[in-house]
Amino acid sequence: MVVKRTIFILVLFIFLTVLGMKNAGAQSYVLSTVSGEGIDSVTVRSRMGYRITPDSIIVSLVEVGIMNPSIYNWSFSDGTTVLNPDGSTAIAVGGFYADTAISAVIGNTLGIISVSVAEQSVPMAGTGCTGGTQTLLIQVLPRPTIYYFPPGLLQAKGACAVENYSLPLSLSGYGPWSVDYTITFNAGAPVAYNQVIGSVGNNVGTTPINSLTLDIDTTQLANGVGTYLVQITNVRDRISLKSLDSTLIQAHPADLPTVDSFMLYVYPTPVNINTIKHIKNW
């Protein structure tokens, strides 16, 4: 019975993982003119989406068949390749792309880059007109990290009965974090879990925050007496979750606890106490 449930959970986990590879979820776009959004924060190697709204007058003329749809000369300051929104290679003709939306896999170099675009009209006759160039700064951030706190220790906790545990963490990056972990009971098959930790206010960057915990409740320790090995398998922060392709932002081993486990024990409680014996009197 336990084996069947474990297999079901594993299959479900794999399915959800594959689903998330190409579509990390509904993306919410915002204008760079919005306060606090003048720079785009991204994680190294993430695939990010960018788009613009076409000139409304031209759109009106396109709708009545008087102009052709505009084209756009998307470019990145560091030469990053322009991709279609679905991640396929975008085809440029004369340096212009047909789509108002693109994506790009950000490079490994931390720092500031930029993406620029100018709309060029495509009239029915004559030469098109090139609009002004819009530029968006992109801040390339490192992946988040997660360790048990204090790091470097093989930690364990236990009790004579099942109870809730809060495992102390050391997190870097921008909250909230999405933490994947597994719990393995008595060297059996690991069971996968996910937990969201922290909030939008936890913007710690590369300076870890040590006040958050991975909370293991009793439902995850329901197999009774034995050992429960809690292993963190992945962590994504608010910024890396923006990636259109979740496979690109998987945590690297260095991002995870060096001693990557926390052992929880549920000790057996003796229940059949025998009668106290003594030496025979006679």
């Binding site: 776009y29 785009d40 613009i52 007058i57 009239p123 029915m124 002004g132 160039t133 819009q134 923006k242």
Partner: protein, 319 residues
């Protein structure tokens, strides 16, 4: 009794004679000039093929004076349309209004003579051809007070040279064109559609304009070009030589003007389609009939392309 009867008969004869004379005069009045004619009497007449043109000859002034005194009656006129060799073209002249001319029966008139000193002439194929010179001839024939035509005197024949030319044509040589980027028409801008015309200027072109498919401007007939000052030696060549009236969006010099107006959801940007519906030239407008020009090509499309206002880049929200 018999004497009284003779007196009565003589009186009746006198009254009858006076009636006859008066009747002849009634039939042969000069028409009141209806056309507006060239003050110069020495120039040739240029006409468009298919047009109906009026002609007028002033009657002899001395005869008019005698008519006033009752000594003569109205002259009659022999109008003829001929080749330069005086061979009749077989064209039947009409009144100015287009009706049949009046011929009096003998002895008050003669074949080929009309009471009208103003006529109109249809210069149409097959009697006449484009690029050919013809003549209108007229001879005034006096009629004495007796009303007997044969007792009058034929005058000299006067001649007017007629040059028959083709109807004007208009060609829009370029199917479409576009204004320069950023020609924001908010304050209005005039685009001049280039055209090529034949005929003798100035030409009047009638055209309409649509904006983005909707009626935009029922442009008033526009006069383009200037009178080139043709002479008999050059009129045929000038009439058939294309004249280019090149228009541009910025030089208000020639072509068909189209005012590009701003406003509306598309701020005046988009497509303006100019459709030419007629052209007349200085000569075809002389016709008593409406002579349509030849429209070789009729439409011209102007695109007023906006410079895009590139909007800010959107990115996935940070917070």
């Amino acid at each position: 009794m018999k004497i009284m009867k003779k007196t009565t008969i003589f009186r009746k004869m006198a009254i009858t004679a006076m009636f006859v004379i008066a009747s002849v005069g009634t039939f042969a009045q000069y028409v009141v000039q209806q056309g507006t004619y060239d003050a110069s009497l020495i120039t040739s007449d240029y006409v468009t093929i298919g047009s109906t043109m009026p002609y007028y000859v002033a009657p002899d002034a001395s005869i008019q004076a005698l008519i006033g005194l009752g000594a003569m009656t109205f002259s009659q006129f022999e109008w003829q349309m001929t080749t330069m060799g005086s061979v009749s073209l077989g064209i039947t002249p009409l009144t100015y209004a287009g009706g049949a001319l009046t011929t009096l029966a003998a002895p008050n008139g003669a074949v080929g003579y009309f009471t009208q000193n103003e006529i109109s002439v249809p210069w149409s194929s097959p009697q006449v051809a484009v690029g050919t010179e013809y003549e209108v001839q007229v001879q005034e024939h006096s009629v004495p007070a007796s009303g007997i035509f044969a007792e009058g005197c034929p005058g000299t024949t006067t001649v007017r040279d007629i040059f028959v030319i083709a109807a004007p044509t208009i060609t829009i040589p370029v199917a479409q064109n576009a204004m320069a980027c950023g020609s924001i028409p908010a304050a209005g801008l005039t685009f001049y559609v280039p055209v090529t015309v034949t005929g003798i200027g100035p030409w009047t072109v009638t055209y309409s304009v649509t904006y983005n498919g909707a009626p935009y401007l029922a442009a008033a007939p526009n006069s383009v070009g200037v009178a080139p000052g043709e002479t008999d030696a050059t009129v045929f060549a000038v009439a058939s030589t294309p004249t280019v009236l090149a228009g541009t969006p910025t030089a208000a010099t020639a072509g068909l003007p189209v005012v590009i107006n701003g406003g509306g959801a598309t701020n005046g940007y988009g497509m303006y389609v100019v459709t030419v519906t007629n052209i007349t030239d200085e000569i075809s407008r002389k016709s008593l009939d409406a002579i349509p020009g030849t429209l070789v090509s009729t439409t011209y499309t102007i695109y007023v392309n906006p410079t895009p206002a590139t909007n800010p880049i959107q990115h996935e929200i940070n917070n």
